[in-house]
């Protein structure tokens, strides 16, 4: 064992030190920002904690926000694994929610079946929207980075159009004078049942999503499908030699990724934590973007999605309590961005340091 290659324990120590330093750095910058505009950072911190978990009944709401975030992040992880950069979750989520709202308004059937149809059509909508980008990537060589981004703006307009026309999404029976573009409210039996726990109230979908995360995590790491996906993502030449169809796997992962974002949209609609069981203009409230950030922070560890999604959801629900501190609630957007940026640094530094050590080790061996 060469001295210049670190032991596993000191590698671990290095990782922890770097993460702590970078995380602190992000927090210090955020604190400075808050102080510069003339608020006290401890007030802000208390307001955030109060609003997200401490005050009675708040953490149920935080779970309600964390659920779609986690779903979006999980989908992102699947397409990441295949080496695709799907960053249009915001649009896929919106289209999914629109499909779900359409199904909800036009379905007749017993409650549980209708709910299932609503959620499935949400997933279908998202998958379709991501599939467009996937198709352009594999058959027209349009980089999916750009097509997914452009499709976000398109999705907002498509849904906006749907919300103005009663044959699509607009609530029927709304008088001509009623210019509010909202969809029909989901019938009570097509809503996701809620669960009350110690004064906190959250939708059952949260539990289902946690189970789904465990399932997908297992599938990514222990099944043939997961393995194929990693091969395609890491080395396409090897994938070709092994006879793994890059297009087929890539498209599949794109569909799954979009489907999960769409499902997140459906869950947002059917859980009622957003906009009271109705689709409204701007329904997605950047859950898609934040979900993407959750995936970035979680990296390749699916289980890490759960805590990260909860933290990011806390920033959102906590921001509602910021008004009393005299600071704009948008400060949480800044904090979010800074945290993500800071957490991108440690793995990169560790990669470089490890390479340097390996290089000098191989040199001293010669």
């Amino acid at each position: 064992m060469n001295e210049s290659v670190l032991s596993r324990r000191s590698q671990w120590a290095e990782a922890v030190t770097l993460y702590v330093l970078c995380g602190l750095g992000a927090l210090v910058i955020s604190g400075l920002l808050v102080t510069v505009v003339g608020a006290s950072w401890s007030d802000v911190w208390n307001a955030l904690v109060d609003g997200s978990v401490r005050k009675p009944g708040r953490w149920g709401g935080t779970i309600g926000v964390a659920t779609p975030l986690a779903l979006v992040a999980l989908g992102t992880m699947v397409s990441n694994r295949a080496g695709l950069v799907n960053i249009g979750q915001e649009g896929q989520l919106l289209i999914g929610a629109a499909f779900a709202a359409y199904a909800g308004a036009n379905m007749v059937g017993p409650g549980p079946v209708a709910l299932l149809v609503v959620l499935t059509s949400g997933a279908l909508g998202g998958a379709l929207w991501a599939g467009i980008a996937g198709g352009l990537r594999y058959w027209r060589k349009v980089p999916e980075v750009l097509s997914t981004l452009l499709l976000v703006s398109l999705a907002a307009n498509v849904v906006g159009y749907g919300l103005k026309n009663s044959w699509l999404l607009l609530e029927r029976g709304a008088g001509l004078g009623n210019r509010n573009s909202v969809s029909e409210q989901l019938a009570p039996d097509t809503r996701i049942p809620h669960w009350s726990l110690w004064g906190n109230d959250f939708a059952m979908s949260a539990v289902a999503v946690v189970l789904l995360i465990f399932l997908v995590s297992w599938m990514l790491n222990h099944t043939l499908w997961g393995y194929r996906l990693s091969v395609v993502g890491q080395n396409q030449r090897v994938a070709r030699r092994f006879g793994i169809g890059e297009t087929a796997e890539g498209m599949k992962s794109m569909f799954i990724s979009g489907g999960m974002s769409g499902l997140a949209g459906g869950v947002m609609l059917a859980s009622g934590d957003f906009a009271n069981y109705r689709l409204v203009a701007g329904f997605s409230v950047s859950i898609g973007w934040v979900g993407l950030l959750v995936a970035l922070v979680a990296g390749q560890r699916a289980l890490a999605i759960i805590p990260v999604a909860f933290v990011f959801a806390s920033l959102r629900t906590g921001s509602g309590f910021l008004a009393s501190t005299g600071i704009e609630r948008r400060v949480t957007d800044v904090v979010q961005g800074l945290i993500v940026l800071a957490l991108l640094i440690p793995p990169a530094i560790m990669f470089i340091r490890q390479r340097r050590r390996a290089l000098s080790a191989s040199r001293s061996r010669v």
Binding site: K141, V142, L150, L151, W289, V331, V334, L344, I345, A348
Partner: protein, 311 residues
């Protein structure tokens, strides 16, 4: 549908429409010219959106404090440069994924700018219109090209400058080498990631300037949503142009005129669907790139990070 095409035809024959189209196109051109250089170095920066927005906000603050458009534009360039510095350092010194960094930067800049705007509330106005004598009287395009707010004319410097820099200087040759074959460039003594970082700085300065132009030449008042995905369209324009400058500028003109339909068509009295009009630019960019994208022209190392010894 027929009505739509007759509307487009009428737009193409009025001076006001050309003026509006030029304004939109020039914003794209500022961003696209710098990004063109950066992409030829093998980098793909989706943070252009954030550079534009950062530039626009810094311009607003610069003007708010000093009451001078020129100072505002300088601030805009600095802000764009700052965003690009983060992008460049994180993705081409450290080895973080460039798309991840770019995306995070976009969200971060939007957050910072939205927050600061609501705290500081900068007040701004449009820059004064300067008419170039004689040229402004040209039929149809005279006012569009020579009767605009003065920051508009910077584009006549920026585009040739970027072209000259990349195609006529040693630095540009090295940048192109880095984009085509970083391994060979590295062996012949070019510091690959150095050149890439520099090209991103250039893209940042230009996009920042574009943001300043957006504020002083087009909108006049700062809003956090004012860029609205047009940075992405500028990126697409480079791809649409097959990584050549003239075709990229043509792409900017095309996409810019589609963007301007939203203003010009209703002004001409056409009652078109609002959603159709605002989604048209994105639809057109997607369709146009999928029809015309030619992967063979792509810089061979586009969007592939360079780490010495790893291929």
């Amino acid at each position: 549908m027929g009505e739509f095409f007759s509307a487009v035809f009428e737009v193409l024959s009025t001076e006001a429409a050309f003026t509006a189209a030029a304004r939109f196109a020039v914003l794209l051109a500022f961003a696209a010219a710098g990004e063109w250089v950066a992409e030829r170095a093998g980098t793909l920066n989706i943070s252009v959106e954030g550079m534009l927005l950062g530039g626009a906000f810094a311009a607003a603050m610069g003007f708010h404090i000093t009451e001078s458009v020129a100072v505002g534009l300088v601030c805009a360039m600095l802000a764009g440069g700052t965003v690009s510095m983060v992008q460049a350092q994180m993705s081409h010194r450290l080895t973080a994924d460039p798309f991840v960094v770019g995306l995070t930067l976009n969200i971060l800049v939007l957050g910072v700018v939205g927050f600061l705007e609501s705290e500081l509330k900068p007040s701004t106005r449009l820059a004064s219109v300067v008419e170039v004598p004689f040229l402004v009287d040209l039929p149809l395009v005279g006012r569009a090209l020579f009767g605009q707010p003065w920051p508009f004319y910077l584009i006549y410097v920026v585009v040739p400058f970027c072209g000259w820099l990349l195609l006529r200087t040693r630095w540009g040759l090295e940048v192109r080498a880095v984009g085509e074959n970083p391994q060979s460039a590295d062996v012949s003594g070019i510091h690959v990631n150095h050149r890439r970082r520099q090209s991103i700085y250039l893209a940042g300065l230009m996009a920042g300037l574009g943001g300043g132009y957006l504020l002083f030449g087009q909108v006049g008042r700062f809003e956090p949503g004012m860029v609205g995905g047009r940075g992405f369209i500028a990126l697409v324009a480079v791809i649409f142009g097959g990584w050549r400058l003239r075709a990229t500028i043509f792409g900017c003109l095309l996409f810019g005129s589609v963007l301007s339909f939203r203003l010009t068509l209703p002004a001409l009295g056409y009652q078109l669907n609002n959603e159709l009009l605002s989604s048209l630019p994105f639809l057109v960019t997607i369709v146009a790139t999928s029809l015309f994208v030619r992967a063979t022209r792509q810089p061979a190392a586009l969007a592939r990070p360079f780490i010495r010894g790893l291929k």
